[in-house]
């Protein structure tokens, strides 16, 4: 009998030691993306764009660590880590990214269109800022149903320039919606540094709407957990929305294959020095960490095997799931 990764990690103490649990999830995100990045550079490639969140794991993992399955998140075009942190299966994700039939969207959607409502993931998104109105609507839906679930709305600092963020802050504040607006500032926006995009400070964008703002070191998973946890708690208990800016660093170009000519090697080196995983590892028992790493490695290897041995999606999937009824 195969034991699930959760059981294996629990056996190593991940459920009793939250820091270990977070480390494990970050490592799972990292290794998932590194593996798919390798696939991208392999001969057969990846049949779609890949936006890697390597380096940003602490934001997703810290934020989602205390969420319930019934809590909701919306993600972005760069969302593998959000998906995994919210509980997506790496095998079906890998299958999706590699264009295989058992992928979450039959292998036809790829990296920007993974959406798994049954675990509260209302979708990565190809439209920058596209998840923000949906997250707001989900929070309204939870409120009407008097559920004490909450929504975390992830977005980038580039996305913060989309008008929907302001609309959402206003609505969420007026209605005291159970939502956390979480800006993952990875310091780059597509093919440029953020100075072309961001005036002022994003965590202060709630000021005019009476929405509290918080900024946090997005490479410190414990700090993220604490800051988001507090905001989630407030949201859950009727205290309304919060906007949080977590400062992190995007290790790679905008998409896999992008040479990121818009930045210097020193800049990258400096940025990568803040590696959230190295940082989290320091506080843990190296022996246990090695065990965790092995479990993660097995999981990712098996996800890749699963994907590669699954049938490539053919034209028969094209017409699936457009309408529920005609």
């Amino acid at each position: 009998m195969v034991t699930s990764i959760d059981d294996q990690l629990d056996a190593l103490g991940a459920s009793t030691d939250p820091a270990l649990g977070r480390y494990a999830t970050m490592q799972l995100c990292r290794r998932f993306e590194e593996t798919v990045h390798d696939q991208f550079h392999s001969e057969q490639g990846v049949p779609g764009p890949l936006h890697l969140a390597i380096g940003q794991e602490a934001v997703a993992v810290g934020a989602c660590h205390d969420l319930r399955t019934t809590d909701v998140i919306t993600s972005t075009h760069r969302g593998h880590h959000h998906c995994i942190a919210k509980g997506a299966r790496t095998d079906r994700m890998m299958a999706e990214l590699l264009g295989r039939r058992p992928g979450y969207s039959h292998g036809r959607g790829g990296s920007m269109h993974i959406a798994i409502p049954e675990i509260g993931l209302l979708g990565t998104n190809g439209i920058v800022g596209g998840g923000i109105p949906i997250a707001t609507g989900a929070a309204y839906g939870l409120q009407v149903q008097k559920r004490d679930d909450v929504v975390i709305c992830f977005f980038g600092e580039g996305a913060a320039a989309e008008g929907v963020l302001a609309e959402a802050l206003n609505v969420a504040s007026l209605w005291k919606l159970p939502i956390v607006f979480l800006c993952e500032n990875n310091q780059y926006v597509e093919l440029a540094a953020q100075d072309l995009h961001v005036a002022g400070e994003i965590w202060r964008r709630g000021t005019g709407y009476a929405v509290p703002g918080v900024h946090v070191d997005g490479n410190d998973v414990d700090a993220v957990t604490a800051a988001v946890g507090e905001a989630v708690e407030r949201a859950r208990t009727g205290g309304g929305p919060t906007i949080i800016e977590a400062l992190t660093f995007r290790w790679f170009g905008h998409y896999a294959g992008d040479k990121a000519a818009f930045r210097t090697d020193e800049e990258v080196e400096l940025g990568r020095a803040g590696d959230p995983i190295v940082r989290a590892r320091k506080a843990l028992d190296p022996v246990v960490v090695a065990e965790v790493d092995r479990v993660v490695e097995d999981e990712i290897a098996s996800a890749l095997r699963f994907a590669l041995s699954s049938p490539v999606s053919g034209p028969d999937v094209l017409s699936l799931n457009h309408l529920a009824s005609v």
Binding site: S105, G123, A138, A139, Y140, L142, V144, V164, W175
Partner: protein, 328 residues
């Protein structure tokens, strides 16, 4: 005991209002969100009383934030509600296109899960509200997989299509017509008036010419047909659902009559009228006895003063003249 169903004279807006009340009564997952729908009772007064009856959670006034307004529908529909989003004027849908087309209409495609979202939008040049409050952009939505689109021409269908949409598991856009709001129609007195999506209505049978008309042009087409009854036998078909179209009913009629006129309030290029003419040419080629004719406004913006509005929009006369040309 008669088998005829009793009817009641009902204004178009009342049909909509009744549908909202009945569906919200029936299913507490149904909510209505929009600008001024609650406290004020709606810009047309047609949601009056709903907030008192169902509470401010379920009848929710939103700020003027159209993109998020449509997101309220998508997001709340994804977590278990059956939202109705009110678009005050169809023109304002231009601020919501991403949420409706890129997000809502593709939700099922991405997730495999249903999205029971109903969107109601008021179209047309019925008021005197000018070029930014009168447009008929329904064709845009008919080219979108994952979305159903319906358009009512009378109080019965306004009511029955809306009730069906609310119960439907797909995102459905219901286009209502400003120009009909205060018109009266006979509406069957039944417990639960449902007009199925996807089914056209043959409003009048005839053998010489088929007139396919939508929205506000349907009463005018019927009037034209009646006016010509002594000379020409006109069949009038109201598609009601314009995406997906009930092509079977439309084409059967065209095949029978061999002549086609399409009348709509929308502009002609790339419109529902173009689609219907195209379908007829493709599928009733052998049966067509005359070129199809589109009856639409000239390719201009909508003016503000009512006399100019009416000078621009086809009248029963215009439709009658077009019918005649198919027999010339």
């Amino acid at each position: 005991m008669s088998t005829e169903i009793a009817t009641k004279s009902t204004k178009y807006w009342q049909g909509i209002s009744q549908a909202l009340t009945e569906e919200m009564d029936r299913d507490e997952r149904v909510v209505l969100v929009g600008e001024d729908v609650g406290r004020a009772g709606g810009p047309y007064g047609l949601t009056r009383g709903l907030q008192d009856r169902f509470g401010a959670d379920r009848v929710r006034d939103t700020p003027i934030s159209e993109a998020v307004l449509m997101g309220l529908g998508v997001g709340s529909g994804a977590v278990g509600l059956r939202p109705i989003v009110e678009v005050m004027f169809f023109d304002f849908a231009m601020l919501m296109m991403d949420q409706l087309i890129n997000q809502g209409a593709k939700y099922r495609y991405f997730t495999g899960h249903p999205l029971p979202l109903t969107v109601r939008a008021m179209c047309g040049a019925g008021g005197h509200n000018g070029a930014q409050h009168s447009q008929n952009i329904e064709a845009w939505f008919c080219g979108v997989p994952g979305l159903k689109v319906a358009m009512s021409s009378n109080a019965r269908d306004a009511k029955g299509l809306l009730k069906s949409a609310v119960r439907d598991d797909d995102p459905t856009l219901i286009i209502e017509t400003q120009g009909l709001l205060r018109d009266r129609f006979d509406v069957p007195v039944v417990d639960d008036l449902l007009i199925p999506l996807g089914v056209a209505d043959v409003r009048r049978t005839g053998t010489d010419v088929t007139v396919v008309a939508t929205g506000r042009m349907v009463p005018r087409a019927v009037e034209a047909a009646e006016g010509l009854a002594d000379e020409i036998s006109v069949e009038v078909v109201d598609p009601r659902t314009i995406s997906p179209l009930d092509t079977a009913t439309i084409l059967e009629s065209v095949a029978k009559t061999g002549r086609l006129v399409v009348a709509q309030e929308a502009l002609s290029p790339c419109s529902v009228a173009a689609e219907v003419c195209s379908l007829a040419a493709e599928h009733c080629f052998a049966e067509l006895k005359a070129p199809p004719v589109r009856v639409t406004p000239d390719f201009t913006n909508v003016p503000t003063p009512l006399p100019l509005v009416e000078a621009r929009v086809p009248q029963a006369d215009t439709i009658a003249a077009a019918i005649r040309t198919t027999l010339a």
